[in-house]
């Protein structure tokens, strides 16, 4: 049943600018991501053109050394972070809910917030060019080149902060997608039934959740070295610490970048060959294996750093191991073509092209996995050629997706001739750009003075680069022109497409489906909406008929009978009731909620994004003073204002009444979202604690305690803080108990007690810190301050990060206590208390480890 009538008065149409600032709908957010990512493609591409121009002949003078380094670093960072993954997530946002049968993502406002954080973090990066110089130490940001001693330009700090903002966007996004895909699938769509593109996105966000948390730890520590004066990356072992932390993120990152493209390749191969993916079960298993293995290969980027032979051998084995699932997937795609009826449409050309490029890239990767060869290839253009082949193969597949889903998103077909022309120029340009790099492999990376004998290859590459760049002009022209001149399409312009997005209109209506999608009958059907309880509405019978007329495909043949057999009743919630039946197989969907009216508009994500931009921009120059101070203050206040606004805004994002929810049945969306977030927070703290342990080993474990820490640093304050935090955890539990007993006074008292104990924790910590800052011993005549040595750096930053988590909790309590006084959180309405408790207990658990590690041992 449609809710069109709800939105006429408050949700602007897509032609209005205001709509795009307010929208939380996944399709709109998807379009925003796609368009914004393409802008960053142009920016990153322009930087690449500058580099290629400089590389035309050795010792060219187009860019100075410093400028060249900025160009090469910015090119890498922008392409990897601000172009390729966001471009993939444009499709993920638009298509995944459609493919799984959901109306939207689980947390629509957070989804919009992810987008605005992404956009503003990119703008922050652009701003960095104007702050002295942007980051110029390579996208890998090796230490200690990445600290102010060697990179004094403010723009360098800004880039680190922009990345932090970006990671916030990604983390929110992963929480959102994971909750959605586990809890909002259509009835009958088990996890193993996910379409391959959605499956690839699922694995991508799993990797993102954990990998980006490790990067966040590294970035926060780097930002702290920049802004607060800690000495992590300039101490003994600091250089290697960065390499570990960065590559632990960096390797999963390259699969995060590639997987969505892989998913699109599989979809396009299936659709355009008219054959089901060969060995689909093994294909999916291979993807899962790669996602897991991606976390245990990172040291192959570090073979020359002097790590011991045993660990090098281990990582050589795991690296070769990870190439094997890819072999299987490549063969699977090739065999899918056999006995097919292949149509060489633009999406298929790009998918096939991507496969070929990936095969070449993959083979050259095996070279790098043989350690003895890697010893020579390290830091040369062999690596550059290899990773461009594989990564840009991923991008190639994303362009396939652009053409594939263009008709769905716009309702019009692109120009096929122009599409093919784009493909030909693209493919020729690509290979002309990157293949000569193998011949010129001895050129060191990031260098523009190279051996004269290699100039021929570099010239070829430069020509190829400009050709590749020019091919995009064809693409942009095609995209724009077809918006108005393209032939209009119906639901499904592609024969043999199978997934649900092709069973609805092009473009889909706001609420996506003409009914509730269900696979209970063994194939997709749209069932009646349950009788709406409050807001009136149409006749269910008429709606089903309308639904049947609208999708017009074979899917509705079994629709009405299935609906009659497994009626959803009249929308009465009966938690725990499991719907079964249907002609084919057992459906394990759970009925856990009422469907209700959904909201689609909120200004707060934009406000928080803008505020974040101002705050981080201010922070970047905080050591310079001047306008940066008020900027930070304004930004910070606006962030708070935005979050409070968001919390107070009534916004309904109802869970589907019936959905497949395995394995998280009974864990409502918000609770699951909180748990997933805590999963990434574990890795964040793991990164901080791990850094401390690593640096302690590097500097001498006992030497650390005896020489680097003052005698005045005793256990007692830590023990007191442990008691305070434990008691506050107990108090939160008591608040929940009081809520179950409907005691308003109990709830308020417990929450206030929690708050007081938390404040006590902070005061005790402050006293301890001030004391340590002002000691005057022989070993530490000027006190033991944040930047005194590496031990003080790790102590203050790690316990400081924890303290910041406490402060965030206390702020949340300040919001909750007045509401408790007004009688909230009673009568079974205890979810907020529970979710807050999850967070607070997590903060407690972290302290349980910090206490012994930083005070006792």
């Amino acid at each position: 049943m449609s809710h069109d009538h709800d939105h006429g008065h408050d949700f602007p149409p897509t032609s209005s600018v205001k709509r795009w600032f307010l929208t939380t709908n996944h399709k709109d957010v998807g379009i925003l991501y796609l368009v914004t990512a393409l802008f960053f493609l142009l920016l990153g591409g322009a930087l690449a053109m500058l580099m290629r121009a400089q590389l035309w002949s050795p010792g060219a003078n187009i860019l100075s050394g410093g400028a060249y380094n900025q160009a090469v670093s910015a090119h890498g960072l922008i392409m990897v972070f601000w172009f390729i993954s966001p471009f993939a997530f444009g499709f993920a946002n638009y298509i995944v809910p459609l493919q799984i049968g959901a109306d939207d993502l689980a947390f629509p406002r957070l989804n919009a917030l992810s987008y605005w954080l992404y956009l503003f973090s990119g703008l922050l990066f652009v701003a960095s060019f104007f702050q002295g110089a942007t980051f110029n130490g390579g996208w890998t940001m090796y230490a200690p080149l990445n600290v102010p001693t060697y990179m004094p330009n403010v723009g360098g700090t800004t880039v680190v902060l922009a990345l932090i903002m970006f990671v916030a966007a990604v983390t929110l996004g992963s929480v959102n997608f994971l909750t959605t895909m586990y809890r909002m699938r259509a009835e009958g769509l088990r996890m193993r039934d996910l379409p391959i593109f959605s499956m690839s996105i699922l694995l991508t966000v799993w990797m993102m959740l954990f990998a980006f948390a490790a990067l966040l730890a590294a970035l926060m520590i780097l930002a702290s070295d920049h802004l607060i004066g800690t000495t992590y990356f300039t101490s003994d072992g600091g250089s290697l610490l960065w390499t570990h932390m960065f590559w632990f993120f960096g390797h999963p990152e390259v699969y995060i970048v590639f997987f969505p493209g892989l998913g699109i390749m599989a979809e396009c191969f299936q659709t355009f060959t008219g054959r089901r993916l060969v060995g689909r079960k093994w294909f999916v298993l291979s993807m899962v294996l790669v996602a897991l293995q991606s976390f245990v290969v990172w040291m192959h980027h570090m073979f020359l750093t002097g790590i011991n032979l045993q660990i090098k051998t281990l990582f050589m084995v795991t690296t070769i191991g990870i190439s094997l699932p890819f072999d299987l997937m490549v063969f699977s795609l090739i065999y899918t073509m056999i006995k097919g009826r292949i149509r060489f449409t633009t999406p298929f050309l790009f998918s096939l092209g991507a496969l070929i490029l990936f095969i070449i890239g993959g083979i050259t990767g095996v070279f790098l996995g043989a350690v003895v060869l890697d010893y020579e290839f390290r830091g040369t253009y062999w690596v550059v050629a290899h990773f461009h082949y594989v990564m840009v193969a991923g991008a190639t597949a994303l362009f396939a997706g652009l053409y594939y889903w263009y008709p769905k998103i716009t309702g019009r077909m692109y120009d096929e001739f122009l599409g093919k022309l784009h493909f030909v120029t693209y493919f020729v340009g690509f290979n002309l750009l990157y293949f000569p790099m193998f011949s010129a492999w001895e050129t060191p990376r990031r260098v523009f003075e190279y051996q004269v004998g290699l100039a021929f290859w570099h010239k070829l590459a430069t020509v190829g680069g400009f050709l590749l760049g020019a091919s995009f002009l064809i693409m942009f022209y095609n995209m724009f022109k077809s918006l108005t001149a393209g032939e209009e399409v119906g639901d499904n312009p592609w024969d043999y497409a199978t997934s649900a997005e092709w069973a609805v209109a092009s473009p889909p209506p706001l609420e996506n489906f003409p009914g509730i999608p269900s696979y209970a009958g063994g194939k997709l059907s749209f069932r009646d909406e349950p009788e709406p309880t409050a807001d009136g509405g149409g006749d269910p019978v008429a709606d089903t008929a309308a639904g049947a007329a609208a999708d017009g495909g074979p899917a509705t043949d079994g629709g009405t009978t299935a609906a009659a057999e497994t009626a959803t009743g009249s929308g009465v919630a009966d938690p725990g009731m499991v719907a079964t039946g249907g002609e084919a197989g057992v459906v394990t969907a759970t009925h856990e909620a009422d469907s209700g009216h959904a909201d689609h508009a909120s200004i707060w994500p934009f406000v928080v994004g803008l505020a974040g931009f101002l705050a981080f921009l201010g922070l970047s120059g905080v050591d310079e003073g001047g306008v940066y101070y008020p900027l930070t203050a304004i930004g910070g206040l606006l962030v708070m204002f935005g979050f409070v606004g968001m919390a107070r805004q009534p916004f309904s994002a109802p869970e589907p009444a019936i959905a497949e929810r395995w394995p998280f049945e009974g864990v409502e969306n918000m609770k699951l979202g909180m748990w997933i977030f805590l999963g990434s927070d574990i890795v964040l703290f793991g990164g901080f604690i791990g850094s401390y342990l690593f640096l302690r080993v590097a500097n001498g474990w006992h030497h650390w305690e005896h020489e680097l820490i003052p005698a005045a640093h005793v256990t007692f304050p830590g023990l007191v803080n442990t008691y305070l935090l434990l008691t506050s955890s107990f108090a939160v539990v008591l608040a929940l108990v009081a809520s179950h007993r409907n005691s308003k006074r109990g709830v308020v008292a417990a929450l206030v007690a929690t708050w007081v104990l938390g404040v006590g924790f902070l005061i005790n910590k402050a006293q301890e810190w001030l004391h340590l800052f002002h000691i005057h011993s022989d070993a530490f005549p000027n006190g033991w301050e944040i930047g005194t040595n590496v031990a003080s750096s790790t102590f203050y930053l790690t316990t400081g990060l924890h303290g910041a988590h406490v402060i965030v909790g206390l702020i949340m309590l300040l919001y909750m206590i007045p509401r408790a006084i007004k009688g909230a959180y009673l009568d079974g309405d205890d979810e907020m208390l529970e979710y807050f408790g999850l967070y607070w207990h997590f903060v407690d658990i972290v302290w349980l480890f910090l206490f012994p590690l930083f005070y006792i041992v």
Binding site: L240, G687, P852
Partner: protein, 89 residues
């Protein structure tokens, strides 16, 4: 609610375990047998964490999958730390 007694008992246990950790240091075990004492202290921390997670965060009463999710994160953090530290030994 009987759970209240359970929660209170757990609070007491946590309090005691924390005190034991501090006592291990003050009793001089760290000086005598450093790595044994270290191991013992960390085991105690893990025990406390499991108890808080299991009972205060109610993991005992949630689907197993949630616990696996947290264990996964923990595993990732530990893998990075151990491998990195080992690589420079």
């Amino acid at each position: 609610m009987s759970r209240l007694r359970l929660y209170t008992a757990i609070y007491v246990v946590l309090f005691v375990l924390a005190t034991v950790q501090a006592w291990v240091e003050s009793a001089g075990y760290l000086d005598e047998a450093y790595w044994w004492a270290f191991a013992g202290i960390m085991v105690l921390s893990f025990a406390k964490a499991v108890v808080v997670a299991g009972y205060y965060q109610h993991l005992r009463w949630e689907p197993r999958s949630v616990s696996y999710l947290m264990v996964g994160g923990l595993f990732v953090a530990l893998a990075l730390t151990t491998a990195a530290a080992y690589s420079i030994l």
